[in-house]
Structures are given as structure tokens and as C-alpha cells.
């Protein structure tokens, strides 16, 4: 593999990592606060559709992004209502949220655009375009560093940089602020938080809404930056890969970055090379597709380090017994 191919694969890795990373951090907030969320997929899908639809109609990608976030937050609120207020089963609720998005996006897309459940292609200001970082053109001719800076680091859309910036920000919020401490505490021992006079419900809703915002950005990125428009089921399991990455990262922000990069790399390689020939042994493309899930099961099984979820995860909090 020559240098240019390597750069291209890594560049594609960064693009494919972005939605995973945003969704993974979204899940991180929610699950750290004790609300399991298997509905990341659905929230991304809803946002992908509405952001593309609004961006197409209004011609402004920023309005599209806002609409996408709104759609995702709405589903988050529904998940919160079911799992916090009505103390329902969080897993069933997450599943229902995903199905709701899978049905509604096609239903509404068909009603609005009559194109078989997709939005028209986005052009011009309807899409997020790449940002050329300063000196990218000037540095381009420099060997090695030039292509790395100009191709790999520069030239992505603003959402890519936002996603990567969210990693240190999330770490700082969770581990260096009062809000973060309380958020983590409510996922481990909500009774203690309640005793300290802080609202468990309020904190959990806050976490779920942050999750909605981040999933919304992830979805908008898919349909307005990575691709130009919405197509049916365009998330293609990314929400579940993000969930896998979250477990792989053992619910920690920096580890989430590495696991999302790993899974993004797997996607990029599968996209570029189909079947890989390793000196006689051919690795079929399906192995690359399944690898994130297999790795996650191995981690979950505790054979390579143990993934221990937040202790109160999945448990509705009941104040009086």
C-alpha cells in the first residue's frame, strides 16, 4: 500500500468516525447518568431525514442542522418520558424509538417529496462543505507532512472538527465540573444524589437531552456532509456500532475516541478494499463488517479486560420504597 492510498484510507476513516464518535459520546452522557439507550440509531436516522429535508426546503444547512437536532431531541424526550417519568423498560423504549424513526422518516419523506422515501439531492448551501485550514495550500508540496496536513487534517466539514473537539470537552464536563460529578453519581447511586438534595429526574433528563443533541448532530452530518441527502435507513446500523464502541471504550470519553477510530478504520477499509488478501488468506468483506460486533462481544465477555457499566444503568429510580 503506497503513501497516497494510506492517506486516503485514513482520510475516509476520519469521515466515517465522525458520526460514530458523536453518537458514541451521546450514549456516554445518557448511560453515565443511568439511562441505557439502544435508540441512538433511531435518533440519528430521524435527524438525518429532517436535517436533509429542511436543508433542501430552506436552502440553509444550518437550519437543517437545527431541525435535525430538534427531531432527535424530541425522540430523546420521549425516551426520557418512558424511562424516567413512567419508569418503563429503557431497552424496550430505545427499540421503539428506533422503529418509530425507521417508519416515520420514510412515511414523511414519501409524503413530502414523493421520491420513494428519500429527499432530493442537496447542493450548494444545503450541504456542509470542507473547510480548508490555514496554510493547507502552502504546505501541500512539503513531503509527508504536506499531504498529512492538507488531505488528512484539513478539508473536513465543521462537524468533523466539532466531533473531535467534543472528546476533551466531554472529558472535562464529566470529570472536572460539578455537573459531571453529579451526572456520574446519578448513574452509580441515584439514592445518594437524591439524599444530597439534587434532583435525580432533572439530571437524568439533562443527560438524555444532551444525548439527543449529539445524536442530532451525528444524523445531520450523515445526510448533509457525508452524503448529499437522505435515503431510507441511511444510518445502516451506525447507532449500534456506536453503542458497541461505547462498551468497547468502557464508558470513557478518550477511549471512546480510540474505539470509534478503530471501528471507523474498519469501515473505511471495508469500503475501499472489499476482500483483503493477506498472503494467501483472503479476508472476506463480511468479516470487516462483523468485526466491531465480534470485538464488542469479546470485551463484554470479559476475556480482554472487563466492561462494567454504570451500576444504576437501566434501573428506574423510585424515591420511596
Amino acid at each position: 500500500m503506497d503513501f497516497i492510498t494510506l492517506i486516503q484510507v485514513l482520510d475516509s476513516t476520519i469521515r466515517l468516525t465522525t458520526p460514530l464518535l458523536l453518537a458514541c459520546l451521546a450514549g456516554l452522557y445518557s448511560e453515565r447518568a443511568g439511562i441505557f439507550d439502544i435508540g441512538l440509531e433511531g435518533k440519528m436516522l430521524a435527524s438525518a431525514f429532517l436535517s436533509a429535508a429542511i436543508a433542501y426546503v430552506s436552502g440553509s444547512v444550518w437550519l437543517g442542522l437545527l431541525a435535525g437536532i430538534a427531531a432527535s431531541v424530541l425522540l430523546s424526550a420521549l425516551h426520557g418520558l418512558a424511562s424516567i417519568t413512567f419508569r418503563g423498560n429503557q431497552l424496550i423504549s430505545g427499540l421503539a424509538v428506533t422503529m418509530l424513526a425507521q417508519g416515520f422518516t420514510v412515511l414523511v419523506a414519501q409524503d413530502w417529496f414523493q421520491q420513494g422515501g428519500r429527499t432530493p439531492s442537496l447542493t450548494g448551501a444545503g450541504r456542509f462543505t470542507g473547510i480548508t485550514l490555514p496554510f493547507a495550500d502552502a504546505l501541500e508540496p512539503v513531503p509527508v507532512i504536506g499531504p498529512i496536513y492538507a488531505e488528512l487534517i484539513s478539508g473536513h466539514s465543521i462537524l468533523v472538527y466539532l466531533a473531535f473537539a467534543m472528546v476533551p470537552l466531554t472529558w472535562w464536563i464529566l470529570f472536572r465540573t460539578r455537573f459531571g460529578l453529579r451526572l456520574r453519581a446519578v448513574g452509580e447511586n441515584p439514592a445518594a444524589v437524591d439524599t444530597a438534595g439534587i434532583s435525580v429526574t432533572g439530571l437524568r433528563y439533562a443527560a438524555v437531552l444532551i444525548c439527543g443533541v449529539l445524536c442530532g448532530i451525528a444524523g445531520a452530518y450523515l445526510s448533509t456532509a457525508l452524503q448529499a441527502g437522505f435515503v431510507k435507513d441511511m444510518t445502516a446500523g451506525r447507532g449500534y456500532i456506536a453503542l458497541a464502541a461505547l462498551i468497547f471504550a468502557k464508558w470513557r470519553p478518550w477511549h471512546a475516541l480510540w474505539s470509534c477510530l478503530l471501528f471507523g478504520l474498519l469501515q473505511a477499509v471495508a469500503l475501499r478494499f472489499q476482500n483483503i488478501d493477506l498472503g494467501g488468506i483472503v479476508i472476506p468483506v463480511q468479516v470487516m463488517d462483523a468485526l466491531p460486533y465480534i470485538l464488542t462481544v469479546v470485551i463484554l465477555a470479559g476475556f480482554v479486560g472487563k466492561a462494567i457499566p454504570p451500576r444504576a444503568g437501566g434501573e428506574p429510580y423510585v424515591k420511596e420504597r
Binding site: A96, L100, G237, Q286, D289, Y293
Partner: protein, 364 residues
């Protein structure tokens, strides 16, 4: 004392949830500019108005009975098996292997072995998540989700690289030999002088599905094992105190669950398609969750809920054919049912409990 009579819990709550879901769906239909009453008429006409419609309704219902029972059995042990989709895919592989590579003299013998193979493959696919849950405490929901994706990649590989006949571009196996084709309901009812649509896909698997409902009822409510499963589902410490091994219960209930989901393949693969295609399950594994929730995990409830969802599926296909409403409306209805009967259960239950309490006070 219970807050509510038992019948209210079993009948009233699912019914109210269903009415709420129907009402919300009607709003959705209104919002896309169609008439909900006409839509309902179309659905009823298309799915129950002819033996052809019934044939499709019952065909879908057969699928959902298997996956619904699978989820229900796991629910009794308080396991949430979300992997019915993957287990049913693997069941399809089992059926395809049995039907393609063994020359069967008659469909009855083939069916026995196909059932065994589909159940074994489905159970095998549930076994690893079950073991990880029982022995290592890995969350069953997450592992079964992951196994759905692994199953889909595995099946993709098998169909594209291994089982596809030479020269064919279609990722599917060859057609099964004539000898293993299951009789359709048309052929089954003809000796009795009943005319049933020839084109409908409903087949002998329906009988197996109904038998499975009865057997699951016997298992859960009439055997020692069923008692242990329910005891474990109610309270793990209680079951432990009674000398019931959690490891054993998790493994057995998940194996039965996976086996039932796998057995769906005798209907959709052996009975209908008569070959194994990509995505043969078409989401039936997930509908099983809605069916089990709606049916309150009781085999008879699952039976009724499966027919209801069969009606929705066939009706939805008719709607997509004649109106501007795409099939995805059914996915929305399904999501609403899962949300209302599963996660928002308390929203329906709390006011109802209050109502019954106040009625009781009034009498006292």
C-alpha cells in the same frame, strides 16, 4: 391485595394500548392527507375480505407466532431476547442445508429434520449470548443485538461466497427440490371440499406454529421446568433460595427461545420462498417483541397478537398498493404498540389502577 382485577391487567391494558396506537396512527394517516376510515376499510378488505387475503394474513401470523413465542419464553425468565432476527436467520440456514443437501423421499420426513435443524441453529445462535449472560454477566440485550449483526454478515458471506449456485448473480441458494415443498393451506383444505386461495403462501407451518403455542403453554404452566423459569423470572433471590440454578434457567430458557425463533424458517424459507434469500426474515424477529408484549407473554395472547400483526402486515401491503401510504406505516404502528405496551405501560396502568381503587372504595 392487587390494585386491579386480573382481567383488567390481561385484557384491558393491552386493549387500551392498542386503541391508543390505532388513534395515533389514524392521526398520522390524516396528516398525510388520507382518510383513516377508508384506510382501515382497505386494510380489512385486503387482509380479511378474501381467502387470498386471509392466506397472507395467516402466513405472516405464522412467522410472528414463532418469534413472539420466542420472546415470550425468554420474558418469563426475565431475559429480553432481542436477537430473534439473527436466530431466525440462522434457522433459515439450517433449513436450507437440510433441504438442499439431503435427498428426502417425502416432505413429512424432511419437515421433521428441517424443524430439528432450524431449532438447533436458532438455539445455537442464542446459546453464546445466553452463556455470556449466565456465566460472565454480559448483558443479554447488548450481546443479542451484536449477534443479529454478526448473523447478518455471516449469512451474507454464506449466500454470496458459498451457497450461491455457479453463474447466478442473485445472493440466494438454489430452489429446494420439489419433494420438500410443504403443502399449502389450499392443498390441505381441498380434501374437505373447502376452496382456499391457491396463490396464498400460508402452509403447513401454521399447524406447527399452533402446536408450538400449545406446547409452550404446557411447558410454562404445567411442568416443573416452566415453574422454575417463572420463579426465576419473578425473583432471582427467591429462586436461588428454592434451589433453582440461575445458570440452568438462563441457558434453557434462551435455548428454547432461540429454537422457537429459528423454527420460523420452516414457514418463510421452506414453506414460502422454497430457497434461502438475503434478509429472508424481514424484521419478523423484532415484530416478535411487539407480539409478546401485546400478548402479555401468554401463548394464547401471542397467538391472537400474531394474527393481529399478520392483519396489519397484509393490510399495510394493500394500503401501499392502493394509496399513497407506504408500508412503513406498519413499522410506525408496531413502534407505537411496543412503546405503549412495553415502555409506557405505567402511563396506561397508573390512571387505571387509580380508577379501580376509587371504585373499590366507593363500594366499601
Amino acid at each position: 391485595m392487587d390494585k386491579m382485577p386480573h382481567w383488567a391487567d390481561v385484557i384491558l391494558i393491552p386493549l387500551i394500548s392498542l386503541i391508543l396506537a390505532a388513534f395515533l396512527s389514524a392521526l398520522v394517516i390524516l396528516a398525510i392527507g388520507e382518510n383513516p376510515v377508508e384506510a382501515l376499510q382497505l386494510m380489512v378488505q385486503g387482509s380479511l375480505g378474501s381467502t387470498y387475503g386471509w392466506g397472507y394474513t395467516l402466513y405472516y401470523a405464522t412467522n410472528f407466532m414463532f418469534t413472539g413465542l420466542a420472546v415470550a419464553v425468554a420474558f418469563h425468565a426475565r431475559m429480553f431476547n432481542i436477537g430473534g432476527e439473527g436466530q431466525a436467520m440462522l434457522g433459515g440456514l439450517g433449513v436450507a442445508l437440510v433441504c438442499l443437501y439431503v435427498p428426502w423421499p417425502h416432505w413429512t420426513i424432511a419437515l421433521v429434520f428441517a424443524i430439528a435443524a432450524s431449532a438447533a441453529f436458532g438455539a445455537l445462535w442464542a446459546m453464546i449470548p445466553a452463556y455470556l449472560q449466565a456465566a460472565r454477566g454480559s448483558h443479554i440485550v447488548i450481546t443479542t443485538i451484536m449477534f443479529n449483526f454478526i448473523a447478518s454478515a455471516f449469512l451474507n458471506y454464506m449466500l454470496v461466497n458459498v451457497m450461491r449456485p455457479a453463474g447466478s448473480m442473485d445472493p440466494a441458494t438454489e430452489r429446494f427440490p420439489e419433494a420438500v415443498n410443504l403443502p399449502t393451506l389450499h392443498e390441505m383444505l381441498l380434501p374437505f371440499g373447502i376452496q382456499f386461495s391457491k396463490a396464498a403462501p400460508v402452509n403447513f407451518s401454521l399447524v406447527i406454529a399452533i402446536l408450538a403455542c400449545i406446547l409452550v403453554w404446557v411447558l410454562i404452566w404445567r411442568t416443573r421446568l416452566g415453574y422454575e423459569i417463572r420463579a426465576y423470572g419473578h425473583s432471582e433471590p427467591g429462586a436461588l433460595y428454592a434451589g433453582i440454578s440461575p445458570f440452568k434457567i438462563i441457558m434453557i430458557s434462551m435455548l428454547i427461545s432461540g429454537g422457537l425463533a429459528g423454527m420460523m424458517a420452516i414457514n418463510n424459507v421452506m414453506g414460502e420462498a422454497e430457497r434461502l434469500v438475503l434478509n429472508a426474515t424481514e424484521g419478523a424477529g423484532f415484530i416478535g417483541i411487539a407480539v409478546a408484549l401485546m400478548g402479555r407473554s401468554h401463548p394464547f395472547g401471542v397467538f391472537l397478537a400474531a394474527i393481529l400483526f399478520g392483519f396489519l402486515y397484509q393490510g399495510g401491503a394493500e394500503l401501499a398498493l392502493w394509496t399513497n401510504i407506504p408500508r412503513e406505516l406498519i413499522v410506525v404502528i408496531q413502534a407505537l404498540v411496543i412503546m405503549l405496551t412495553g415502555a409506557l405501560d405505567n402511563m396506561v396502568r397508573m390512571p387505571l389502577e387509580k380508577l379501580f381503587l376509587s371504585m373499590r372504595k366507593g363500594r366499601a
